[in-house]
């Protein structure tokens, strides 16, 4: 029985450690090389959107926050919509490849490779009192893709998932500019008219790029009286 890596498909030796022998952990389904190519967001970061400051030009930074977040805060419509965002990995070239393999080429099983890191990092920033809401796909897109990547990620947390949002079909986000994204009407609605009074919510998504999608979703939730809305994503652009 040979192990082959879920991402590069090369045969490899899984590392066996104390935790594996004590069955506290399963053997890694990725080879060491691929595993090491995932880079964590660590060190100094924007306290609002979780953007790493490490390789960021200092002109994009003002104190503990990045200029992007300042721009959001200056806009009266979007001020304080998103309490904070945190992400697990850097959205580097490797990560782009992995995400495209997973999302667009439909290799659903890859999600298992994120399980340990995703869950550990989630509990580092949030806890189980938060309400978990994955960003939904429109029915058309779900049919096209076969699975909702945000929901797949949310399932890794082993917490109850609340599908409180639905989404209209529109053009793909990745083909729009920031301005266009901002100006589009909100694609999200509440699935059912419910009150979210006193609920703190964490939105789950795969990637935080500009934060527009997440803020659109957050706005809907805040209008339903949510106490606060944060987000947690797999990667941060």
């Amino acid at each position: 029985m040979t192990h082959s890596c879920l991402i590069c498909h090369a045969p490899y030796h899984p590392i066996v450690t104390w935790q594996h022998v004590l069955t506290l952990k399963n053997l890694d389904i990725l080879c060491e090389k691929c595993r090491r190519s995932f880079l964590f967001i660590s060190g100094e970061m924007c306290e609002s959107c979780g953007r790493p400051f490490q390789h960021l030009d200092s002109s994009y930074r003002q104190g503990p926050v990045c200029t992007d977040c300042i721009r959001w805060q200056e806009d009266d419509d979007w001020k304080d919509v998103l309490t904070k965002n945190r992400s697990v990995y850097l959205y580097n070239d490797f990560m782009k490849e992995v995400v495209s393999l997973w999302k667009f080429r439909g290799d659903y099983a890859i999600v298992k490779a994120f399980e340990e890191d995703f869950s550990r990092e989630f509990f580092r920033h949030f806890d189980d009192t938060f309400l978990i809401a994955p960003i939904p796909l429109s029915t058309e897109r779900l049919y096209e893709r076969g699975f909702n990547q945000a929901k797949a990620l949310a399932e890794l947390l082993n917490l109850p998932i609340h599908d409180i949002l639905t989404r209209h079909h529109h053009e793909k986000q990745s083909k729009k500019s920031r301005r266009e994204r901002l100006q589009t009407e909100n694609v999200f609605q509440l699935a059912e008219p419910i009150s979210l009074a006193n609920q703190r919510i964490v939105l789950i998504d795969d990637i935080y790029t500009t934060g527009t999608t997440l803020r659109h979703a957050a706005k809907v939730l805040l209008e339903a009286d949510a106490a606060s809305v944060s987000s947690f994503t797999l990667a941060r652009g």
Partner: protein
């Protein structure tokens, strides 16, 4: 199956333990817990593991059932074939031989003359010798925690010590050697070569590093290495074997072999290497593992390191299930397991120095419970010393040993140059080791942990590794370490929470040594130390390390109890068999107070002891009749000697102590003789004692009828050497005791005598039934 072999190996171990302890409740509970773990966490292999457990259980029962002797102790004529080289130490010859029915026996012979010694050194493997002799049952442990020679030999399938009346080369003839024996002969020659040509400081270490032979190493150096946690350097280890294989593989490829041929060649050479290096558990483990890895190179899928280690363990246990009970086997596997499972943590370290540090820490940590069980203490100097000695041995001493040996073979002058360098280095390191071993008080004497403590140690250590592995942030990383420190502290304080006290008459041969521990360890006393009178011997008779009661019996016993501090050392009088080991004890433990009898300072031996005691900052006091001390609500009364200086003999000036332990009254009489007894009875007319430590080892000069009548003891304890030259205890004393219906416990028959007591009651047990 990948990564799962370890569960099978563990099942095999549990199977053997169940067989060995014949389904005792502890191993049963442990095995059940293990099985439940498999059932819930590893369901896919749990039936397979259960099968392995049962197979190994049955296999062990089968092997153990066959481990029986066919010889009878009535036999007197023997014709046996030597299967190992004999070792001659002083006037003692030891060897292993096989009867024609292929049963192994240990030959033990006392050499009578220098000429005979010279002749017998020509005995070699494969010789068949005929002689008259007797079979003796090997001795089981005579003291608590002591080495059990009988069990040790039983694990080697040896049941008898064969003692020839005379052993002569004239009645020995050579027989053809098997291939294995030829290899052993080659090894012997190699060892002798080193002995012949190398300077004395280097002989032991070079023999150990090249041939895995420690026989000739000085005991002090060996003990130093062991005490400082460096002993693994003197064993041929996995690192050693891996380095050699790496070098040979590289060389083979250099001279134009293909990788496949080179691997094949090595697979054939490994068994030869194993035999040449003495086939100790660590060499067998390392070679077998290397062999498995080399073979698996040919397979389509590579074997995980952890799987090859587990497979090696299973194979070794199949070859010899008794191997599980060897300290070398246990330590070798546990340290390797620790290093393999932590290898990713070691490799994460950025600098080679940090890698070395973590390797050392991991190896020490994973073997901690075993080290405590076998050696009773851990050295805190071990970590820094390993950091120096591991590279020193790996990169300088080991290569230099090999180069100088090969050099000496090929071109003697060059070899001599290397030997010179090696000698300089080893002289220095040996001095350092000896100095540190004697002077450092950095060892933590925790004693042998109880089964429960061992269990907690294991859990704590697993916890430490898991927490470090999780890479948790901040203090959480040290949760495991914190737990381990707690376990160590609890282990350290357990004796102080124990409501049981203990009196142990240690079997020190001819002599007295009585250990008294009060409940909750509120006091630890030693009455006398024992001491073997060494008669001057011609040099050919002298052994490498003469038996010394202090270092060989008393100190190990104290360490096993976790006692590194004696509150009082009471020397009853100045006879060597009562105080011979006192100096060793003062040197190797911390003694708070030394009590000697009033006027004892006039005695030459005691004078010397008092001087040594003062050097070690021991408070010395002369005690006499009328004094007493209290501890834990128990009073100790000094009944003798009188406080007036008298012309009485040394024996009659013995310190006599009276106390009440476990609801029973005790009289410790030292070597008091009849006139002393008379004087004692005169001074204390109403003296009674339930337990009497019989005076002067049961000599007929002591224990008078008058004493027994007055004292009315129920139990008499006699501390006396087996086959002693004074024929103690005397028959008339035994008769006298019998006539009074007194239970007699004697160390020559029963080994150490233990009395475990609480405030109100206590029980006697003996080491030998």
């Amino acid at each position: 199956m990948k990564g799962n072999f370890i569960y099978i190996a563990l099942s095999a171990i549990f199977g053997i333990l169940l067989g060995y302890f014949s389904l005792h409740v502890y191993p049963l509970i442990l095995s059940s817990v293990y099985f439940l773990f498999l059932l819930f966490r590893k369901r896919e292999i749990c039936l397979f593991c259960l099968a392995a457990m049962i197979v190994f259980y049955v296999y062990f029962i089968y092997i153990d059932g066959k481990n029986r002797t066919m010889l009878k102790d009535t036999m007197t004529q023997f014709s046996v074939r030597l299967v190992t080289p004999v070792t001659i130490d002083g006037d003692r010859l030891i060897g292993t031989a096989e009867t024609p029915q292929r049963e192994k026996v240990k030959i033990s012979y006392r050499i009578r003359s220098k000429e005979e010694k010279k002749k017998l050194s020509l005995l070699s493997v494969g010789m068949v010798c005929s002689f008259a002799g007797v079979l003796e049952v090997p001795e089981a442990a005579r003291n608590p925690y002591a080495f059990n020679y009988k069990k040790y030999l039983y694990f080697q399938r040896i049941h008898w010590l064969l003692k020839p009346h005379t052993l002569s080369l004239d009645h020995c003839r050579s027989t053809p050697l098997s291939f294995y024996e030829k290899l052993i002969a080659v090894r012997e020659k190699g060892i002798a070569y080193i002995e012949q040509y190398f300077p004395s400081a280097t002989i032991g270490i070079v023999q150990a590093l090249v041939y895995g032979e420690r026989e000739q190493m000085s005991e002090t150096i060996l003990e130093g290495y062991q005490k400082l946690g460096l002993i693994h350097l003197l064993a041929i280890s996995g690192l050693h074997v891996t380095m050699l294989i790496g070098m040979s593989f590289f060389l083979a490829i250099r001279i134009g072999m293909t990788r496949e041929t080179a691997a094949l060649l090595l697979i054939f050479l490994l068994p030869l290497y194993t035999v040449l290096t003495g086939a100790s558990p660590s060499v067998v483990r390392a070679s077998l593992m290397a062999g498995i890895v080399l073979i698996s190179l040919k397979w389509p899928t590579k074997l995980l390191l952890i799987d090859s280690l587990s497979t090696t363990c299973i194979i070794m246990l199949l070859l010899n299930p008794y191997a599980l009970f060897q300290a070398g086997f246990q330590l070798s596997f546990i340290a390797t397991l620790g290093l393999i499972l932590s290898s990713h943590m070691i490799l994460q370290q950025s600098s080679p120095l940090l890698q070395l540090v973590s390797t050392t820490v991991i190896a020490q940590l994973s073997s901690l419970p075993l080290l405590l069980y076998h050696f009773f203490e851990i050295s805190l100097l071990s970590f820094p010393l390993n950091l120096v000695f591991v590279p020193l041995y790996s990169f300088i001493i080991l290569p230099l040993s090999l180069i100088s040996l090969i050099g000496h073979y090929l071109f003697t002058p060059v070899g001599k140059l290397f030997i010179f360098m090696l000698e300089k280095i080893l002289l220095l390191t040996n001095q350092l080791i000896e100095f540190l071993a004697v002077h450092s008080s950095f060892s933590l004497t925790l004693g042998r942990p109880s089964s429960l403590m061992l269990f907690f140690y294991c859990i704590a250590i697993l916890f430490v590794f898991v927490e470090f592995e999780k890479m948790s942030q901040g203090w959480r990383k040290y949760k495991g370490v914190f737990f381990l420190v707690c376990v160590i502290i609890v282990d350290w304080f357990t004796p102080y929470l124990d409501r049981y006290g203990e009196v142990v008459l240690l079997d020190v041969g001819q002599g007295d040594c009585i250990y008294i521990e009060l409940p909750y360890r509120k006091g630890v006393y030693l009455i006398d130390t024992g001491g073997v009178v060494s008669f001057s011997k011609p040099s050919w008779r002298k052994r490498k390390d003469e038996f010394e009661v202090g270092a060989d019996v008393v100190v190990p016993f104290l360490k096993a109890k976790g006692v590194s501090r004696l509150d009082k050392l009471i020397i009853t009088h100045g006879d060597y068999d009562h105080m011979g080991a006192a100096q060793t004890i003062i040197e190797q433990t911390t003694v708070k107070e030394l009590f000697i009898g009033k006027g004892g300072n006039k005695d030459r031996l005691q004078q010397r002891l008092v001087k040594a005691a003062k050097r070690h900052h021991v408070f010395v006091r002369e005690i006499s009749r009328g004094e007493k001390w209290n501890a834990a609500g128990i009073s100790f009364y000094v009944l003798s000697p009188t406080n007036t200086e008298s012309e009485e003999s040394k024996n009659n000036r013995s310190i006599v102590l009276y106390t009440n332990l476990g609801g029973v009254t005790w009289l410790f009489t030292g070597d008091l003789e009849e006139s002393g007894e008379k004087e004692l009875l005169h001074a204390f007319p109403s003296l009674r004692a339930d337990v009497l430590k019989v005076g002067h080892h049961g000599s007929d000069t002591s224990t008078s009828e008058a004493l027994l009548k007055r004292i009315q003891p129920k139990v008499a304890l006699i501390s006396v050497g087996k086959h002693n030259r004074y024929q103690h205890p005397h028959e008339t004393v035994i008769q006298r005791l019998r006539a009074h219906n007194i239970t007699i416990l004697r160390t020559d028959w029963h080994g150490a005598i233990q009395f475990i007591y609480t405030k109100k009651s206590g029980t006697f047990t003996t080491m030998l039934p």
